[in-house]
Symmetry: C2
Subunit: 240 residues, 2 copies
């Protein structure tokens, strides 16, 4: 559901009707109960709000939910990692772990791979150039073998979807639902990986192949205007 709002309704004025949400959810394979629980939780956590209008409700992201979505968007939609550099950072092992809110990866209690040179008392930082060869134990702490495996599996699934797409003509809600599925599947992998350049990842990490395929698929599954989507949904409801 976070992906539905993030992909379809991240703009400040965007509203999605309960009918459209339920229709998309059905296409994605979610049951109405699951949708109700998800909407209840998102509203409780302050991500979304709704307004009644006659017999239906219109849902929208709150400023908080919009800010969280906007934060995650570059990591999900960008065609390459945001981070251009990787720095090896050592902090004083006699001090408590450094306060660090970046997206790096800790190697040990006082050793960090960070996307930028951090400033701070007692910090030593050295750039890891693209020519560097990192040993396996380091790349495994940047991206665990299981996450690398998930990235390779996703490549297979996205390739299979691309082949399928060529053989079908899709309605606006179907396009929107597939977009959500593509984004959601990559989001689950992308947000688990630190935002660091590709050269510090294990060789079997397929993150860049995923990004390329996601960009390719989203170009074939263009973002649907909400009014066209709503119209298509109500037509389907009347005729189906």
């Amino acid at each position: 559901m976070v992906t539905v709002f993030g992909d379809l309704a991240q703009q400040e004025t965007a509203r999605i009707s309960g009918q459209a949400l339920n229709h998309l959810a059905r296409l994605i394979g979610l049951k109405p109960e699951a949708v109700r629980v998800a909407l209840h939780r998102l509203r409780k956590d302050g991500w979304i709000d709704s307004q009644r209008s006659g017999r239906t409700s219109a849902y929208h992201l709150t400023p908080f939910g919009r800010a969280r979505s906007a934060e995650a968007s570059p990591l999900i939609y960008a065609k390459s990692p945001q981070a251009q550099e990787a720095w090896l950072v050592l902090t004083d092992p006699a001090l408590p772990a450094m306060e660090y809110d970046g997206t790096g990866a800790w190697l040990t209690a006082n050793t960090l791979i960070a996307p930028a040179e951090p400033t701070g008392e007692g910090v030593y930082a050295s750039l890891i150039g693209p020519e560097a060869t990192l040993p396996g134990w380091m790349t495994a702490r940047i991206c665990a073998p299981e996450l690398a495996r998930q990235s390779r599996d996703l490549v297979e699934r996205l390739r299979a979807l691309r082949e399928q797409l060529e053989q079908h003509s899709l309605s606006p809600p179907q396009i929107a639902a597939l977009r959500v599925l593509v984004v959601h599947s990559w989001r689950r992998v992308a947000l688990k990986a630190p935002d660091l350049p590709g050269h510090v990842f294990p060789k079997d990490w397929a993150g860049q192949a995923c990004r390329d395929l996601v960009a390719d698929l989203l170009a074939q599954l263009p973002a649907q205007r909400l009014n066209i989507l709503e119209q298509s949904v109500s037509e389907t409801r009347r005729t189906g």
Copy 2:
């Protein structure tokens, strides 16, 4: 005594008589008992051996003792550190500490500053350039504050000796004894410091000032030929 042999009698054919050793020891301020104990221990440890010749003994370094002396000599007599480079080395924290017989400094159980790029499974190494600024906790593990203090104290003492030297005319045994004292005092500091380039040491480490002063003093206190030394000693014994 190790310094006496290392400085005066490191050559394979070099021999020092018991009289000359005792004379030098007295000039240095060692009692005859201390000399006997030191010679006994050095012989027991395989550093030296002796040959009787009439009423006197002639002492010399064994091949083992000569090899150990030759190993330490560059660290003591060189005008600059042997190491030209410093490398930050990370080893796999899940493995036992790396086998390493170089002269670097360990920062943590898996982080080392080494004078050369080590080869080995799972090792990551990055050059620490002369322009790098190392935080205090790192330089303190390369050279403890106490050792830095000793180096500054030694600078003061060597400067004072240099001033004194200008006012005295010295005999060959006195020159040899002073050489031994100069070398010995620097040896005690030098061999405690890792062989790494100056730019990774704390700013208050005075190792290079010590090296410069030692070189300067040893030029003023030239190495004495053993035969001249022995002759001077026996003359002193006859006349004194």
